[in-house]
Each structure stands twice: as C-alpha cells, then as structure tokens.
C-alpha cells in the first residue's frame, strides 16, 4: 500500500513537472508572490523564452 502511494505521488509529481505547475510554484516561492493573473504573466514572461527554445522531437 505504501509503495502504491509512493508511486502515485511520483506520478503526480511527474505530471505536475511536465505541465509546468511545479515550475510555477517554484517561481511563486522564489519571488515571494501569491498566485494571480499578474504573477502568472510574470512567470510566463520569465519562462517562455527558455521553454520555446526547447526542441521537441519528431
């Protein structure tokens, strides 16, 4: 049961990382902000250039 719970936690962490939710949380912590439209806009502005430079394979 403990193993299953651990697997579920890792799966959720993976999905949150892939979908940048974890990155947004780190950004809020680092910048000392609460989630808001303005904070998300700032996150995207910081994040976008790096992200859109990432190639995606064929």
């Amino acid at each position: 049961m403990r193993q299953l719970a651990k697997a579920a936690r890792i799966l959720i962490a993976t999905v949150r990382e892939i979908f940048d939710e974890a990155a947004y949380e780190r950004f809020l912590r680092r910048a000392g902000l609460n989630s808001s439209a303005k904070a998300y806009a700032a996150f995207r502005a910081e994040f976008e250039e790096a992200r859109t430079r990432r190639p995606k394979c064929c």
């Binding site: 890792i10 962490a13 993976t14 999905v15 949150r16 990382e17 892939i18 979908f19 940048d20 939710e21 990155a23 947004y24 949380e25 780190r26 950004f27 680092r30 989630s35 808001s36 439209a37 904070a39 998300y40 806009a41 996150f43 995207r44 910081e46 994040f47 976008e48 250039e49 790096a50 992200r51 859109t52 430079r53 990432r54 190639p55 995606k56 394979c57 064929c58």
Partner: protein, 680 residues
Amino acid sequence: MNKTISILAWSAVALTGAAAVGVIAVRRGEPINALWLVTAATCCYALGYRFYSKFISAKILALDALRATPAERLENGRDFLVTNKWVVFGHHFAAIAGPGPLVGPVLAAQFGYLPGTLWILAGAIFAGCVQDFVILLFSVRRDGKSLTEMAKEETGVIGGIVAYAAVVAILIILLAVVALVIVNALKDSPWGTFTIAMTVPIALLMGVYLRRIRPGKVLEVSVLGFILVLLAIWGGQWASLNPGVASVFTLRAPTLAILIIIYAFAASALPVWLLLAPRDYLSTFVKLGTIGLLGIGIVALHPTLHMPALTQFVDGTGPIFAGKVFPFAFITIACGAISGFHALISSGTTPKLIARETQTRMVGYGAMMCESAVAVMAIIAACSLQPGVYFAINSPAGIVGQTATAATATISAWGFPVTAADMQALAQSVGEQTLFNRTGGAPAFAVGMARIFSQSLGGETVMAIWYHFAVMFEALFILTVLDAGTRVARFMIQDALGHVYKPLGRTSWYPSILGTSALIVAAWGYFLWQGVKDPLGGINLLWPLFGIANQLLATVSLCVATTIIIKMHRARYAAVTLAPLAWLVAVTFTAAWQKAFDTNPRVGFLAQARALAAGPATSATGRLIFNNRLDAAVTIILVGMVALVLIESARQWIGVVRGTREVTVKETPFVMTRLAEERG
C-alpha cells in the same frame, strides 16, 4: 542463492526473447500474433537495459554517484534544478516522443513487418539508446552544454558549424514532411478538418483561462481542453453530415497547405501564452494518455498481423516510397530506432535536471527504449490491417491508378486482394468519403488504431469516432511540432544573424521576429508545396530526405561521442559508438548516393529530372525539374558536410591513439556532491 535465481531468471528472459525473435524471423506464409512482437520487444529491452547499458555505464562512462551534477552545482530554480529521476524520465520521454515513431514504421511496413521490427529492436538497443545515454552523460559532465557546443569543443570548429547547419536543415525538412503528413490526412475530410480547426479556438480559450481565470492550473485546463476536443470530434460528425458545413471544411491539399503555412507563421509570431503553450499542454496530455491506451489495447486485443514478414517490395519497387530495403528501411524508421534529433534534447533541458550521474542510464537509455516500444506499437497497428487495405490507403494515385477500380485491380495483382467495395465500406465506417491515396502513414495508422480501440471498447459502431480521435491525436502532435519547431528554428536563425547585425538577434524586436519567421516558414513551406504538388504524393520525395538528414545528425552526435570516449582513454571500448556510427555512415551515405544519382527515376532525384526533361512538357515540368535538382543538391551538401565532420573526427581519433595529439577533454572538474554528504 540469489545469484543463482538471477542467472536462471535472466536465462529464461533470454530464451523467451530468442524464441519470440525466432518466430518473427522464421515464420513464413501464415499470419502471426502481435504478442510475438510484444514478447520479443519486452525481452530484448530488458536484456539491453540490464546488461548492455550496465556495461556501458561501468566500463566506458564510469558513472560516478559522488560527482555533483550541474543541476546541483548551478541550481537556480529555473533551468538547473535537482529533480526526481522519474520526473526527469517523464519529462525527457514527453520531449522525445513525437509523430516520427508512429509514421516511420507505418511507411516501412511496405517491406513487411520483419525488417522494421528487427531494425527497431536492434537499432534502439545498440544505437539509439546508446546515443541518447552517452550524449546525456557527456552534456551533464559539461554543465549541460548543447550538442553543437560539444561538437565545436571536441571535434573542432567544423563540427560545430556542421552540427548547427544540420540542425537547421533537419528542422526545415522535418517541418515540411510533418506538414505534408497532416495535409494528406485532412484533405477532403470535413470531419477531420473541422476537429483540427476547432483545436485552435480551444487552445486560445485555454490560454485565456490559464492567464486570466485560473492562473497556472495547467492540468485542470488540459482536462477541460481534452473534453472540448472530444466534443469537437463528435461535432465533426455533424459537420461532415451537414452539406453546408461540410462544403466549408472539405479542402483540397493545396488549400490546406496554405492554411497550415499561415497558421505556423502566426504561431511563431504570436505571444506564446495565447496559442503555443496551451496547445503544447493539450498535445502532451493527449499524447501520453493515448500511447498508454494503445499499449493496453494491443496487449488486451493481441491482433493478428496480416502483413507478410517480407513483401516483394524489398527489391525497391515499393509503391509508398521507392528504394531497396537496404538502406531505405533504416532511414524511413528514424525516431523508433535512432534519431539525431534526440541528441538535441539529451543535451538540452534534461542534463540540467539530473540529480546524479547514475540516473542518466535510466533517463537516457530507458526513455529511448520506451520510444522504441511506441514504434513497435505503430508496426503492429499498420500490419494488423489487411495488406490490400494498407496499400490502398498508402499508395499514391500516380502509382496505383486514379480510380478505385484501377487502384484495387493494381493492388490485387500484387497479391494483396482488396476490392473497391471493401474500401468503400471501410471509408464509410470511419466517416470518410474515401481512403484511397491517403499517403503519409497517418491515416493508415489511424485506421489500425481505430480497429484496436473499437474492438476493445464500443465495437464497430464507434469506429468512426476512434478513427477521428486517432487523426486528431496525430494532427495535434504534428501541429505542436510544427509551431514549436518553427519557433526553435527562428531563434537559431536569429542567434546566427545577431552576429552579423546585433538587433536581428534580439528575440523581442518585431522586424526580426517577422522576418526570421517568414524566412523559416518560406523555407519549409517551399518543400511542403513541392510535396503537395508532387504527382506521386510527395512522401516518396520528402520522407527519405528527412530520414537522411535526421540520421546524418545522429552520425554527427556519434562522432562527438566516439571522440570523447577515445579522449577518455577508453579507445578499446570505442566500438560501442563506433559500430552504430559505421552502420549509420553506410546507411545514410548509400541512401544519399542513391537518392541523388540512382538511374531509376523513382529513386534518383537527378534521374527523375532527366526523365521529366525527356518527357512531354507541361506547365509544371520546369518546376518539377528544378525541385528534383534542388533536392539532389540539398542531399549532396548535407552528406558533404557530415563527411567533413567524419574526417575531422577520424584525424582526432588517430592522433589520440598514436599519441601525436594532445588530449584535452573539456569536462567540468570534479566536485563532490553535497547530496551524498547529506545522506551521510
């Protein structure tokens, strides 16, 4: 005791794998079950990972769990971040898995299931996984440097320039070919076109939701987007049955090509948050879910493979693309076995997230194994179709004939019986007017996938929904590659132009954004237009070009890897990268030579140009001749550049082995990991 059990267990895996590969290789004249492929793949991957990757880790790379990685040393909470190994694995897999491992194996199935399956298994275990693994580790040991930077440092300036040029060339050809796949899947299909058109407003809505309504709730909005896409698929059926709406969404290939070119230009120039990012999230959500579902569906249904192990087209007379099984099977299947493009990802985001060197084995080698498994699924989906149906969907009208009767007569004469009535019934069952002349692999894969899904869930009555779900899944994938690829290529061009005139390098300067976007879109749009207007469907022209370019990039990355291994004084183990390098050189150089100079007009670009010049002149003749000469020139230039890298690398290897060249490995100096100290 444990050791004895381990030996017995691994012996059993080896014997089972050998038996499964034996059945696949030897069985002739009767269909085999897909489970043989699944068993062979599972056992081969298990053995490859347990023994071969461990050998590479221990003997060549000497992975060091005590050495701090850039994620730890340079942690900044953004690019560099110590991350759980499974999370990095998922991230890496999501980046390397695209439409390539789905489309390539479907096209290569024209040779039968055997060549493709063997290449996917052997190519992944001995070449693709090795490349991804070693490049990832070498990048980790160089502060996450990119392939082009490593090529410049380790093999010289020529290596760096060629790697850069190869990446841009591959991106251009790749974008053209994936755009052609989508055009061929959507032409004259109001249902498919409506569904895909709807994904644009859905993505825009997701962008606004993410930015303004529930900031940062990506998973939530992706689920919402997925539900809306399912509604769009359902709405597509209504659109296809309503004559007024259907006429709006029934588009010919040239019209679709123009719309896709306009879309990609807009996506490259628009703010990312509005369209690109939400579509990327939606595509990733659908991609991971569908691949998982397809795997479960194949194991649950274990369909019979109706395609023979080998077809007569191994002699080079194939209708989908011309050329013999060697070398063309090995460039047609790229991403499922080895893809140079992966080296960009292994030296991009991933090395900056790795917590310990020892994890590069699981992430680099392991994720590529999963990609290869996706390619095996694609082979199964294509080969579970009746061969007559497979060839009717994938063969261009220029080869099999313009009418349904002519096409079925030609294909039946090859020994793959199919009737016009069969094809009509199949088209009706998937909600299409026709499935003839749907070159590109995507529709054939969609039919195979819809068969597997509908037989597992919902039966024949929902076959059309599953088919359009599969088309949507592939198109979403491809559009994401298209808009992200256009943007990446734009940045690369801007970086280069910035050295000539500084403002051109500024990614926020609109004249530069518009100019470079237009340049990139025009470049791949030209090749797309060439494919759309090609009388043989375009895939015969563009897919081999893409395969050659992608495998040439793999050649460059294996040159870099071999150079580093030799410089690390591990020359006696250099065969680990040298053997796949030699194979790729043989494959790509032969394919390039044949594509440029073969005297058969269906194979050689220049022979085709000569045949066109000698034949009756039409208004398109001049353009077709120019295009064939251009394709020949592109192929020769690419091969010439990679030959320079090879020569430069070989000089380095010989110099190091003879002791006449100074060995300077550009690794970051060893720093003890803090993570190990903390653990005690």
